[in-house]
Symmetry: C2
Subunit: 492 residues, 2 copies
Amino acid sequence: MAELKDLTKRSEDYSRWYNELVVKADLAEQSAVRGCMVIKPYGYAIWEKMQQTLDKMFKATGVQNAYFPLLIPKSFLCREAEHVEGFAKECAVVTHYRLKNDPDGNGVIVDPEARLEEELIVRPTSETIIWGTYKNWIQSYRDLPILCNQWANVMRWEMRTRMFLRTAEFLWQEGHTAHATAEEAEDRTVQMINVYADFAEKYMAVPVIKGVKSANERFAGALNTYTIEAMMQDGKALQSGTSHFLGQNFAKAFDVTFVNKDNKPEYVWASSWGVSTRLMGALIMTHSDDNGLVLPPHLAPIQVVIVPVSKNAEQLAEVDKVVAPIVDNLRARDISVKYDNADNKRPGFKFADYELKGVPVRLVLGARDIANGTIEVMRRDTLEKTVVPLEGIEDYVQSLLEEIQSNIFQKALKLRESMTRTVETYDEFKVEIEKGGFILAHWDGTPETEDKIKEETKATIRCIPLDGDTTPGTCMVTGKPSKQRVIFARAY
Amino acid sequence: MAELKDLTKRSEDYSRWYNELVVKADLAEQSAVRGCMVIKPYGYAIWEKMQQTLDKMFKATGVQNAYFPLLIPKSFLCREAEHVEGFAKECAVVTHYRLKNDPDGNGVIVDPEARLEEELIVRPTSETIIWGTYKNWIQSYRDLPILCNQWANVMRWEMRTRMFLRTAEFLWQEGHTAHATAEEAEDRTVQMINVYADFAEKYMAVPVIKGVKSANERFAGALNTYTIEAMMQDGKALQSGTSHFLGQNFAKAFDVTFVNKDNKPEYVWASSWGVSTRLMGALIMTHSDDNGLVLPPHLAPIQVVIVPVSKNAEQLAEVDKVVAPIVDNLRARDISVKYDNADNKRPGFKFADYELKGVPVRLVLGARDIANGTIEVMRRDTLEKTVVPLEGIEDYVQSLLEEIQSNIFQKALKLRESMTRTVETYDEFKVEIEKGGFILAHWDGTPETEDKIKEETKATIRCIPLDGDTTPGTCMVTGKPSKQRVIFARAY
């Protein structure tokens, strides 16, 4: 049962507001395993809608799903030098395959005789095991491209965790493609970042900036990492999806070659791309308010809730009768609707609960409304109440859902625009970064300057925007030439 | 690319036929990790159809999906005595959380300083972590029932593995329900075995016998295990799904109580139930033949393939034009259809490939057919070819798909019936069991007798059938009283 009160206000403590909201809205909770969360049914229902939508979008581009092993031999992880550097420091290691009764009678212990010859790593990402497999699938250019995706759990032993944003185990999808040319692989990399951006904006109603990561922030083993970056209400950035052009790095590490059209052997070109349950964090932090979740209609498990108000069973029966065809009509339009006529909770309790859970539209109907031929409509995004005619309520609700979807996107976009500033000098930058938001500034393109800025201001380069202003300038720190402004922010 | 020839015949070596078919039909392959398989896109597409169908069936009974951690603290696994006995012997144990560069320069080693205080087990099943979580969710009878399911990977360190049938890692769903009364929990247990049986028979076209397991074969920690048992073409049994009545065992192990309607604390009652990628094995072995897979239309990723035959580009263009509206019309009926007009493979190659892959219906169209207003139809189950009028082909195909679905079920049912015998004496039993199939015999209900039979004949009690003949008798081995005949078989 959700607790309806005592949600910390965003203005008091944004971080605490988020942590409380995740729990109070029944999305997730900490588990007994350090850094791992339990995703509760209501939270999982949102994730399922994300999965279904993304899965359709992937398949529309020719991608097929497959499944690769959870455990990766240690030697595989080590084949690509940068990759192992990036992932070896935070991995769960399986060393044994059996427990046994403690001969001293202290319960069950690891059986020292069941030590694995080679340790296995719980996958932090699957490039290595997948490229080890692709080696058997690829001989000729006729076997290319391969466009596989898997929905899976992965594990990274993070020291500081926050539900959805950074957890030791998380759920994600990882696409891994193999191509005959560099151009094709890079086109796929860009295509997928565009799919992610479309999904974020059209379904999550989260505006994102598409861009390229600096070398410092690149995926371990990639030549180039594309990203979508969103701004949360506290002005911090959240990296929400990435797509990597891997060049021939993994093909070389796993010796995957193909015979090209000129009958010559060549290493295969690759991309990989993923989004995770981290998107849940982006969804929650972009739209929600001090009353709880605000969900975009395109992803809300319950889009419309109908609550009856009645003084007695007779009145309730009358409301039931009027509501039944409305429910049927809404469902016929593929609108998910819940009629909550449970008699063990008061309407006020239900109102607060559905507000907390972010249900986009609430309808309230009582005997007086029926007499008047009207119904009360509350929209979660603005909390506005209106009384409208019962006749045609389905049309009204359907267009209201689209209006809410569009409104929360516009609201988030306006906030981002109002918190995005251009600065010329490093002094100015240091002042502005304290206020949060995105700062557009010139940078000389070197890791050293980026490190210095991070060190001194905790800000990182979120991306070099794809669609930004490409006017050259001079670096705010070093005065050296800059190709274009990049986006700085503090980030989750 | 599938290899089209050299599939071992079932009559030569059934086991080898299966192993080859899994690989040649592009369903799965062995991975670099011992006992773990890669599920390839074509195999995964079948599994996805199974998942989607089951998921809808579960949700129709009020079940919600959730997600619980992959790793289980060792102490959790040990709380329920029988459970740890059943699972501790075959588990992957995480002991460390970091790798580091070997100071001796030999690549990367496990960092001895990153040893976990308590070892974590890769879940072999999730009763323990879930009941550890339910403790926080349940206070009063008002919080019950809880009806959660998760789609997940699990791991059991099997010594002898076979793809889909028995692998170290496998994919499954596991439902875990919590109830206020024993009756409700047992009703749910039975409800879910009925869901599994419906799914097996209506979608997989696999006839199953519903029954109860003997104590020897019961799930570790359950009071009662229900099962569905299928017979493969070689007469061996395959346990295809189980549903467990757990009583209050896990509630007691994790101290999960609720305040009942009389305001008294009581332990919660439980069920758990699961099916896995093992179902893929059942599907393959029930229907397929010496030419390859035979897929039930209700689960086939491609239900209809259309192959053009043409002598030149002009003829092909003509066929393309005739096929286009047929494809549209079939899709409008929710029939998945592939038009394979790729010009780099000959029709004969395509025919063999789609036969191997088990596509239920093949249509072949050439210039002469168009002139005649006809089209050739081949059904995969019987390999029969017919020429039918082009006009109305969509109706023909739609009803043919249903006919195939029903035909392969009936065929499997007849085989099972022909290989099911009743025996009276143990001598007779020893002769019959060598011929394979299901043997109905009387048993005295003791584990000792069951062990003796298993020892001497390799046959186990598959189940005590729910819908079987309940006439009492005397045990074929001991002559002691028997409540009803039970089903013996050798099993996968």
